[in-house]
């Protein structure tokens, strides 16, 4: 009887913990690993495939911005890929509705209402709006604020405008 009681309490605690954790990560913030080098040097600056899995950056993604969907130029955001919704991508917003973007593939695009233009910091190695065009803001799942792991790279993720990206 004691074991059953113990197991029941354990299950209950796990359930409560999961419920509260899920709510917090949905509404406020969560911590996710960053894969790939499309945002290098902001995330995963070392391109070394042997240690890549060990040196993956972990970042804080805040969800409060989803209340209003207000974003600024240069924000780093997490969004579901427009071609495969199960996949989450991390890129930087480089243009907002009404802005004019010129690209190699499209001539010049005016970002339509409710959309944004996302690009990786590592322009040479990034699948982004330059190939799939502007994405609806509704696909955005959160804004990246801090890098928390590895510890020596702990710090705030700066908001960068396209000009400062170009000067790398």
């Amino acid at each position: 009887m004691g074991t059953v009681n113990f197991l029941w309490n354990l299950t209950k605690n796990y359930f409560t913990f999961g419920l509260i954790g899920l709510t917090l990560s949905d509404r406020y913030a969560s911590i996710v690993p960053v894969g790939g080098i499309s945002m290098s040097p902001t995330f995963n600056p070392h391109d070394d495939s042997s240690v890549r899995s060990l040196t993956r950056d972990f970042v804080v993604v805040e969800k409060l911005c989803l209340e209003k969907y207000k974003f600024s130029l240069g924000d780093v955001v997490v969004f579901s890929s427009p071609t495969n919704h199960k996949e989450k991508n991390i890129k930087r917003i480089t243009a907002l509705p009404g802005d004019l973007v010129s690209t190699p593939h499209y001539d010049a695009v005016v970002i339509p209402e409710g959309h944004c233009w996302v690009e990786g910091d590592n322009q040479a190695w990034s699948l982004d709006s330059r190939s799939f065009g502007p994405i609806p803001l509704g696909l955005v799942r959160g804004r990246v604020t801090h890098v928390v792991w590895p510890p020596h790279r702990f710090g705030k993720v700066e908001r960068m405008t396209p000009k400062s990206i170009a000067s790398f």
């Binding site: 427009p82 409710g114 509704g138």
Partner: protein
């Protein structure tokens, strides 16, 4: 004396903590049910006539088929508007990724048909009221990631109480 008072207070603090935890758990439960299982939605506007009334119906939408990709052509879906992320719209899903969709771009003016292949990972949505709706015929195919749920039950008004089908009635 002070310590004695504190000792007297302890049960109250414990009680208050437990009550707060209970309320927090309750709210978290609501949030999880709402965003992972099923939610209420209020329809608005003429775009889904005659399935939903002009004055607004209260409908139930479930999130499971969206999550597990069990959506089918004809489902009525909740979707974040591609034009305004703060707005949720209700439309009918008429084409999945890879489908060829035939549509009349401007109903009423002429009946010239256009054909489009919906790209992978996208869906084609249309309002039931072809003459007064803002849908894929205007803004094109939309990414599946914008779909928020499947409307399956009308709760209010009472005379329409019942399931929402895959066919336009």
């Amino acid at each position: 004396m002070g310590v004695g008072n504190l000792k007297q207070l302890t049960p109250f603090v414990k009680e208050a903590f437990q009550q707060t935890l209970f309320v927090a758990k309750f709210l978290c439960g609501i949030h999880v049910t709402n965003s992972y299982i099923c939610t209420f939605a209020l329809t608005q506007g003429p775009s889904m006539l005659p399935t939903f009334n002009l004055t607004g119906d209260l409908v139930l939408a479930e999130r499971l088929s969206t999550r597990f990709q069990k959506m089918q052509r004809g489902d009525v879906v909740l979707m974040r508007s591609p034009e305004n992320p703060r707005k949720i719209v209700i439309k009918r899903l008429t084409g999945m990724g890879g489908d060829t969709v035939k549509y009349v771009a401007a109903h009423g003016n002429n009946d010239k048909q256009d054909t489009i292949v919906v790209p992978d990972g996208h869906v084609w949505i249309e309002g039931d009221n072809k003459f007064n709706t803002n849908d894929s015929r205007k803004f094109g195919p939309v990414p599946y990631g914008l779909v928020q749920g499947r409307v399956f039950w009308t709760v209010w008004p009472p005379e329409d109480f019942g399931s929402v089908g895959r066919e336009v009635q």
